[in-house]
Amino acid sequence: MKKMVLFFNRTKSFTHSGQSKIARGSRGLLPRLRFVDLMKPFNSRGYPLDTSILFILPGLIGFFVFFIGPFIISLGYAFVDKPVGGVFVGFQNFTELFQNKAYLQGLNNTISFIGVSVPLNVLLSLAVAMLISKVKKYKGLFALIFLIPLVIPSGSMVFFWRAFFDHNGYANFLLNLLGVAKINWLETEYVQFVIVLIFIWKNLGYNMVLFLAGLYSIPKDYYEAAYIDGAGPWQCFRHITAVHLMPTFVLVLIMSIINSFKVFKEIYLITGSYPHESIYMLQHFMNNMFYSLNYQKLATATTVLVLIITLLTKFLLKLERKVSP
């Protein structure tokens, strides 16, 4: 019964987006059918089944088999004392996890990193997008320049970053020219600046494209009308750009938070499994737990992380719905 309602709703939603007109205004009535619709299978109520489901199905099956399934199975490990022949221990693994110094260090560093790098990245990419949107010529070229870091393989860039921030690298060479003492960039707290820089360098282009798309979707008429009414640039930004960019802003925020977890790849390649304590992230903890095959800690940490990301995403989407025009 529930299945039928689902299909009905889906059909309705597709109708709204203009992709299918099968069931427009036909709740509870027999639909008006075209010839092509006759080729489709029907459900028990006589409504044609939405074939788009069939296109989604392979991906959906893959998602369940390779993501949801293993995650649910791994949840089991979070509640036992050892992977084989384990005894159910309730929330003991969670209690221990929140007493684990390395985990807390990773959690603290990850939160600090997200807290600094995500807002910085969002603001910088917005600024760059607005500048590019104002440029009269070579818009595509500028956008391309900022997109290049996205397509450069991490391995080759890691080589550059290591050479740049090495104790005897280019950064210290430049400092030396300025008469400043060498800095141990990768093994002191300065490494935090390095990873924020790498994160922004890598993700600025992606966010910029999202913002550019958002900016282009705002009708020019709004700005013209506002200028005629005497609004200045700041008022235009505050009352038109910011308001209409809100859905994009939330999307960029979500993507930046997700991408901030991906910066681990570069950190790992530059500084290894055990970097300076200030950049030891949750992914370091989980990666090291994976290699030492400590399934309990790995599964528990994953569960907590998934929970945090789900709640955060849900909150951001709710916020978006609230503040969107």
Binding site: K2, I72, I73, P83, V84, K101, Y274, N288, Y291, L293
Partner: protein, 506 residues
């Protein structure tokens, strides 16, 4: 739909938990087994023994497996080893023959093996008996993957602890459990070149059973200064370079700096930096042999050249004790890396064991074994380990040439076989092989002196620091920055403190 999905998730969660509980219930009897429960089982069926080091383990294990299967019909022992056999090159003529075995350190192969064993253990499979060579055994012990064999040692009437070196077994206990069972042990002792010391200094070197590097330098420093000033000959205080001496100093002080069992790190407390600084000071005072390029070929000429060099002190292992007492014995140089050298040994005398400032004397082993706690045939696995530690197998040449058997009777027997030369008969040509039979009076005298010294030194062993290959890699990488001058000792200590602390807190 939401409700349906939630129900599905909960059902899956419950199912997975049920699956876990079911597995747990099935295993509960064996999990809670006392030694008696296992020992009441039959010695039969198939077991698998897995080790990384092919060179050290394979021949011995295959010999043992064959003998075990004959002794216990109905059993089958599968042996699996992982690393490549060393490259063997023989050079020289009939008079002087030299065989060099080069064993490359394939770190990737080691990591692959550890990952393989990890995966097998965590999935509830894996070998029944594990050779503990490169494995992080303390982690397995902690996560319940290894069997505490002390319950079998206590309850098995056929196992008598007094037949074995109790202090060696005691030293390898971890968190009140006996998770690994070493089959042999080796220790290092200091020897000195008596031709370079005054009578008074020699008396000082004979007074104690244990010495630290600092003690030795204190005794020999003034003479070294004088001798090295007045001679053209290549004389040094020690026959190894700064990295080697640092590793030895670290090994002696390991537990004070990194206590893996208690998860405590004291590297930035000053002691580690002091060790690094003292090594630098030794190098500056020219006490150490300059580093030789890695990959330098050892030839008969280079060995001859090595004999022309003189060192105040040498670090030798127990294998050299026999040669010390039996000057006429066939010389078999055991050179581990080609970096350390003993130089001229004609005037060598024994000083004492290498110890740290707290009197801790550590040892190493060639072979040790553990039982997988998920093994379906623990009874046979324990019997096989016991068989490996029996007199029959402990006198085998395949066990190790330089290791001392943990079995007391076998140690005496192996010593006799070493003195007569029978132990090495397999390695000799028929012309050379004159050993065997009863000990002559002269051989008996050598044997008595040798076994007395071995026992005296073995009694002093009281420590076996639990080490970890990841921590070793961290230290090796970081001290390089000190030796190449890019970081100070304190900087290195601070970085290592933070990294190792993080590693141990995971």
């Amino acid at each position: 739909m939401k409700k349906g999905l939630s129900t599905l998730c909960i059902a899956a969660l419950v199912l997975s938990l049920t699956a876990c509980s079911t597995a747990q219930t099935a295993d509960t009897p064996s999990q809670k087994n006392t030694g008696q429960d296992v020992l009441s089982g039959e010695i039969r069926g198939e077991i698998t023994v897995s080790a990384y080091e092919t060179f050290r383990y394979k021949n011995f294990l295959e010999e043992a497996a064959k003998a075990f299967e004959q002794k216990y019909p109905g059993t089958k022992v599968n042996i699996s080893t992982f690393s490549k056999m060393p490259e063997v090159k023989t050079s020289g003529d009939d008079d002087k023959k030299m065989t060099i075995m080069t064993k490359g350190d394939d770190s990737q192969a080691r990591v692959d093996y550890i990952n393989k064993i990890n995966t097998e253990l965590m999935s509830g499979r894996g070998a029944d008996v594990l050779g503990i060579d490169v494995l992080p055994w303390y982690k397995y012990a902690q996560s319940g993957q290894l069997e505490d064999v002390s319950k079998y040692m206590d309850t098995d009437p056929a196992f008598n602890l007094s037949d074995y070196r109790g202090n060696i077994l005691q030293a390898t206990r971890y968190k009140d459990g006996q998770y690994i069972f070493p089959l042999d042990y080796t220790f290092n002792y200091f020897a000195y070149d008596s031709s370079l010391f005054t009578e008074e200094q020699q008396k000082q070197l004979q007074m104690d059973d244990t010495f630290t590097y600092e003690n030795l330098i204190g005794i020999g420093a003034s003479t070294y200064k004088e001798v090295s000033r007045n001679t053209e000959k290549p004389i040094k205080m020690f026959g190894f370079d700064e990295r080697d001496i640092f590793r030895k100093l670290l090994q002696e002080n390991y537990k004070d700096l990194i206590d893996i069992e208690q998860r405590k790190v004291h590297i930035n407390g000053g002691k580690f930096a002091k060790l690094l600084e003292s090594v630098k000071e030794y190098a500056e005072k020219d006490y150490l042999k300059p580093s030789t390029a890695t990959g330098t070929q050892i030839t008969l000429d280079s060995l001859q050249k090595n004999k022309d060099e003189q060192y105040f002190y040498k670090v030798k292992n127990n294998f050299s004790l026999l040669q010390h007492f039996n000057k006429n014995s066939r010389k078999m140089a055991m050179m581990d890396s080609g970096q350390s050298s003993s130089g001229n040994e004609d005037n060598d005398k024994i000083a004492g064991l290498s110890a740290n400032s707290d009197g801790k004397v550590s040892f190493s082993y060639n072979q040790a074994y553990a039982i997988n706690s998920n093994s379906a045939n623990k009874r046979t696995a324990w019997e096989f380990i016991k068989f490996l530690a029996s007199e029959e197998m402990q006198t085998s040449l395949q066990l190790s040439l330089n290791g001392l058997p943990i079995n007391n009777n076998a140690r005496s027997e192996k010593a006799k076989l070493s003195v007569t030369g029978e132990l090495y008969s397999a390695m000799m040509s028929p012309q050379e092989n004159t050993g065997g039979g009863e000990l002559t009076d002269e051989q008996m005298e050598i044997y008595n002196k040798y076994i007395k010294t071995v026992d005296r030194f073995s009694d002093l062993i009281n420590s076996f620091p639990v080490t970890d290959t990841t921590i070793e890699s961290m230290i090796n990488a970081e001290i390089e920055n000190f030796f190449n001058g890019s970081k100070t000792a304190d900087e290195v200590a601070d970085i290592l403190q933070s990294k190792i602390e993080l590693y141990l807190s995971e």
